[in-house]
């Protein structure tokens, strides 16, 4: 994760990460690639679980509630914030100057990995890092409601 945020090759508008980020890797390789005959394969504990977990996709009431929350939080009177967006936020993460903002994002990653790999680190309250964030930043912090992580639940 750290590698992804530090070692990015930046186009003018296009982000060219150098590729080692765990989330990207999971998206890229999970369930992809050639499968050989089962009888040749040596099975190792853990692998079957991993692919099954990652396949669970749930579009739930929870998701809808989070969308409602996000749209409710949007302050219509305030329009100056929309230019900042995620790229701006990522910039700050790279510069290491906004720890309280990165926490939500990083927590999300840990959570994803925890879920996928059956590890034990995904139990922390997911909103924890976002409470101190100013009002106008919530919609970005809440971009996770639309993420893969939530659909796994």
């Amino acid at each position: 994760m750290r590698a992804m945020t530090v070692a990015s090759r930046q186009g003018q508008y296009l982000d060219r990460p150098s590729g080692g980020g765990l989330v990207e890797v999971i998206d890229l390789i999970l369930d992809k690639g050639l499968v050989i005959d089962v009888y040749v394969r040596v099975s190792l504990v853990g692998i079957e679980l991993l692919t099954i977990d990652a396949r669970v996709v749930v579009a739930s009431v929870d998701t809808y509630l989070r969308f409602a929350e996000a749209v409710n939080r949007l302050d219509l009177a305030r329009s100056g914030t929309e230019t900042r967006g995620l790229p701006g936020m990522m910039e700050e993460i790279r510069e290491g100057g906004a720890e309280h903002k990165t926490k939500g994002v990083l927590e999300g990653v840990k959570d994803t990995v925890g879920n996928v790999l059956g590890g034990g680190e995904g139990d922390e309250e997911e909103d924890e890092g976002e409470r101190e964030v100013e009002h106008e930043e919530h919609p970005q912090g809440r971009s996770r409601p639309m993420s893969r992580k939530d659909r796994q639940r």
Binding site: G11, D15, G33, L34, T63
Partner: protein, 257 residues
């Protein structure tokens, strides 16, 4: 006890590609080597069988080995993460020999191409504002909801969220189509991942010829400029052809589920 982790299959002529320094799956100190068989070779490393696979570094090591081959312009057929075979002899006999013709044909098809994957993520605030601008019914429902207390508005909140989620998904479809329209002309083949429309993200993979790589990258940069502010675009690559290998093998059944 040790077994043989298999990353993928390359041409025998590409086995000089430097991989020795890369950490191997399951055992960072094991060298990544090749098991040759006639004109092809499997990319392998030794792996202990006494512990489960699936740590983050295992996944990253798998991808790094395959992507390093792709970056060196060596055509490679990636295997699914977690492919482990008893030993090198079994790799040669049961994997390479038994699938020989199909491997050779697929390597020929993928020669001179690499995968690029474009990940698009909405600036959620910008896209929600678009939804509100375009949908007076959603604005109205939102205003009604403000008057209700949390408990009382439960079902209205679900309804509001569902409308918004659907509107965002529709935008995802439209934007995915735009991405295809702009980038597909510079690619040999495209694949859109199933996650794209559900969460408003567009994930699209492109098989790009080495000779047209600059065209493709320019088109992607151009697209990122057009969408700047509402979508953040990330381009990964060159990568091993994870999304195209099944097609190249002429066997879609198991891969597409």
């Amino acid at each position: 006890m040790c077994a043989c982790y298999v990353y993928g299959v390359v041409r025998e002529s590409d086995t000089a590609t430097a991989l020795g320094d890369l950490p191997a799956v399951g055992n960072p100190n094991a060298p990544v080597t090749f098991v040759p068989h006639r004109a092809i070779a499997a990319v392998v490393s030794e792996i202990p069988t006494d512990r489960p696979l699936g740590a983050p570094e295992d996944l990253q090591a798998h991808a790094r080995v395959l992507n390093t081959l792709a970056a060196a312009e060596a055509p490679v057929l990636p295997f699914r993460f977690g492919t482990v075979v008893e030993d090198a002899q079994s790799v040669a006999e049961n994997v390479l020999a038994s699938g020989y013709d199909a491997f050779v044909a697929a390597l020929e098809r993928l020669k001179g191409c690499a995968q690029f994957t474009l990940k698009a993520q909405y600036n959620q605030e910008a896209v929600l504002r678009e939804v509100l601008d375009e949908r007076p019914d959603i604005v109205k429902l939102r205003e009604e909801l403000e008057k209700l207390s949390g408990e009382a508005g439960y079902y209205q909140r679900i309804e509001l969220g569902q409308l918004v989620a659907e509107a965002v998904a529709a935008k995802g479809d439209a934007d995915a189509a735009l991405v295809q329209k702009c980038l597909a002309p510079s690619a040999v083949a495209t694949a859109v991942s199933e996650s794209s429309s559900e969460d408003g993200l567009v994930d699209a993979s492109f098989l790009v010829e080495d000779a047209r790589r600059t065209d493709f990258e320019e088109a992607a940069e151009d697209l990122a400029r057009r969408l700047h502010g509402r979508l953040r675009l990330q381009l990964l690559g060159p990568l091993a052809p994870y999304d195209f290998v099944a097609n190249a093998m002429g066997d879609r059944g198991e891969e597409e589920g």
